[in-house]
């Protein structure tokens, strides 16, 4: 990691240069309360002072809701070709927990088997991170995802009259050298940065007590009363999965064009909360009850990947809490598990 500082006065020209040189994805205000990461053509569209985005930016780019994986032509012979898209892009203004969500997906899509469709896009994605204000439902601090220590090329932290710049890759360093001027960070800068981070961490209001969840979950696993209560109002709609920065479940569909010659395989996001998720040919459903599906979602997010990667598959962004029509609250439920077991 290289530590530099960028003068505030140089920031605007730096961003303008990036917008003109690259395919530049950044936050843009959509309405009063929501921003969306979209293609930015002019700096006037960019608004990095965002609080809320619905679909996580990195996931949208690297693992889009619909993605063609394979195309084929059916004739005398069948020709099959992979589809690999990998144009260079800048993702600008993504916050720490969403970077950590992307880091999870990076690890996931390169474990056991390498997913070229994901990773070819990831390798060409230049990530420039920036802090954003947490929402009231954000519990990233409790999860330890409020700070990003890798996954970005450059991370900009806005201090009083400068940006504290963390550079994690040679690519990031090159971009800074080419499009602006940075100076080495000195002890004073670190001091100011630390103070900023201390204050920043105070902004996270939602706390979860997750330390004992790993063990407590197994004790409460068989308590159907508890899970029925937790999942009582669930509509099995899958909104929680759609907005999750780390949810990765998908279906693969084979389609054929009207000419009956050209076909393709497309993956589309799926949701572990909808009843058909565990349904196999012949009609058996391995997870027919909503309480079992919710319970499995919690296991997947909060336990499974502690075993596999030593990490939660949850960054505490709180999106699933905000979008849930039934007001199911993963943070409260983590605390309830603790309470239920401790009583």
């Amino acid at each position: 990691m290289l530590y530099k500082v960028l003068a505030k006065g140089a920031y605007r020209d730096f961003v303008k240069a990036l917008i003109s040189e690259y395919e530049f994805i950044g936050p843009k205000k959509k309405d009063r309360s929501v921003h969306d990461f979209v293609l930015i053509k002019d700096i006037s569209e960019l608004d990095t002072n965002y609080i809320r985005t619905t679909i996580p930016a990195a996931k949208k780019i690297l693992f889009p809701p619909n993605e063609r994986l394979v195309t084929y032509e059916i004739g005398k012979k069948i020709e099959v070709k992979p589809v690999i898209e990998s144009g260079e892009k800048i993702l600008f203004g993504i916050n720490a927990w969403d970077i950590n969500g992307m880091n999870f997906l990076d690890r996931f899509f390169t474990t056991d088997f390498i997913d070229e469709n994901y990773i070819s896009k990831r390798k060409k994605l230049i990530v420039i991170g920036m802090d954003s204000e947490p929402t009231e439902t954000n519990f990233s601090l409790s999860i330890g995802a409020e700070y990003a220590k890798d996954g970005f090329d450059i991370y900009l932290t806005e201090l009083k009259d400068k940006y504290f710049v963390r550079i994690a890759t040679a690519r990031g360093n090159e971009i800074l050298e080419k499009y602006t001027k940075v100076n080495d960070a000195i002890a004073e800068d670190f001091k100011e940065y630390n103070k900023y981070m201390d204050n920043y961490r105070m902004k996270f209001k939602m706390n979860v007590d997750i330390k004992s969840f790993y063990d407590d979950f197994e004790l409460i696993y068989g308590n159907q009363e508890f899970w029925k209560r937790v999942a009582k109002n669930c509509y099995s709609c899958g909104s929680c999965n759609l907005v999750c920065p780390t949810c990765f479940c998908f279906n693969v569909r084979d389609d054929i064009e009207l000419n009956l010659k050209d076909g393709n395989k497309t993956r589309e996001w799926d949701s572990c909360m909808i009843p058909e998720y565990g349904l196999v040919a012949g009609g058996h459903n391995f997870r027919p009850d909503k309480e079992n599906r919710l319970k499995q979602r919690y296991r997947c997010r909060l336990k499974t990947f502690l075993d596999k990667f030593g990490k939660y598959a949850c960054v505490g962004c709180g999106r699933c809490i905000e979008v849930c029509l039934a007001k199911i609250n993963i943070a409260e439920d983590i605390n309830s598990v603790k309470k239920e077991v401790s009583v």
Partner: protein, 286 residues
């Protein structure tokens, strides 16, 4: 980690199937056919090595893809066979296909296979219910190929009725051999049936292999497992010596789509064969 990976244009991905030909189709029951499959690429076919209990993902181009266990002898590298019930959209379409038709194949997949090496120098009890015989066929054929490496072998197989019995020729062959004990039972016998009647679970109390020297392998419909396991535990079989092949929905076969998750494991990459010891720690697996 990721950013340092060297650039290299890849010609294939984990989702690209190899083209294969259906070489032979054999109807073996009113609802099941056995498809003999050969990969078009000769080198790939020669290198297509699988372990008993592994599966492939089969694509019908323009329609869909589904996982199927391999039912043939792992020592045969000229082709492989899948025994498929006409029950879903892919299997239904497959049943309408004719010989020489082209399909796509990915695999073989599954790191959890039947532990044919550990079973050597021990007795082996194989319990199959219905279509569960299909995944066991590759193991049975493997064991028979190396018969002298194993002690006593018993095959317990239950079918709904006499006409739904699969692999009748193989069963006849096993019955004629003196070195295998074969017990077949049907739930609904017809007038001609002279064999056992009832679910295959009923036959397990008759097994007289010493449990500490025996491996049990079970494959069948989800509902069957609890009952078979109950009977085996009554017989004092150790959980680490009982192996079960689990069915789950799969969309990818390579540990990405997550549909086959069981606790913190995935049936596709960690299974589909698990020991009962593992299953007891997974909850809800059976």
């Amino acid at each position: 980690m990721v950013l340092g990976v060297q650039e290299e244009e890849s010609k294939s991905t984990i989702y690209v199937p190899d083209i294969a030909k259906i070489r032979r189709i054999k109807q073996i029951s009113p609802t099941e056919k056995v498809f003999r499959i050969i990969l078009d690429d000769e080198e790939k076919q020669n290198n297509f090595k699988f372990k008993p209990g592994q599966f492939v993902e089969l694509t019908i181009f323009g329609l869909g893809e589904a996982p199927f266990s391999i039912a043939s002898n792992p020592n045969n590298h000229e082709f492989f066979e899948l025994c498929i019930r006409n029950v879903g959209s892919v299997s239904g379409a497959l049943h309408r296909m004719e010989e020489d038709a082209k399909v796509g194949i990915r695999g073989p997949f599954g790191n959890g296979y039947f532990p044919y090496d550990k079973m050597k120098n021990h007795n082996v009890l194989l319990v199959a219910g219905g279509l569960g015989l299909a995944p066991l066929m590759s193991l049975i054929k493997y064991i028979l190929h190396y018969r002298e490496d194993y002690k006593e072998i018993m095959i317990v197989y239950g079918a709904v009725n006499p006409e739904s019995i699969l692999f009748k020729d193989d069963i006849q062959y096993w019955s004629n051999r003196k070195d295998i004990l074969t017990c077949i039972s049907v739930d609904n016998p017809d007038d001609k049936w002279t064999g056992e009647i009832g679910v295959c679970t009923k036959l397990i109390p008759r097994v007289n292999f010493p449990p500490e020297d025996t491996y049990a392998v079970v494959c069948g419909p989800p509902v069957m497992y609890k009952y078979v396991v109950y009977e085996l535990e009554k017989k004092k079989f150790k959980p680490e010596n009982i192996y079960l092949s689990l069915e789950r929905r799969m969309e990818c076969g390579v540990g990405k789509c997550n549909h086959c998750h069981i606790g913190n494991k995935l049936a596709c990459v960690d299974g589909p064969v698990f020991s009962l010891w593992e299953i007891n720690n997974l909850k809800e697996a059976i």
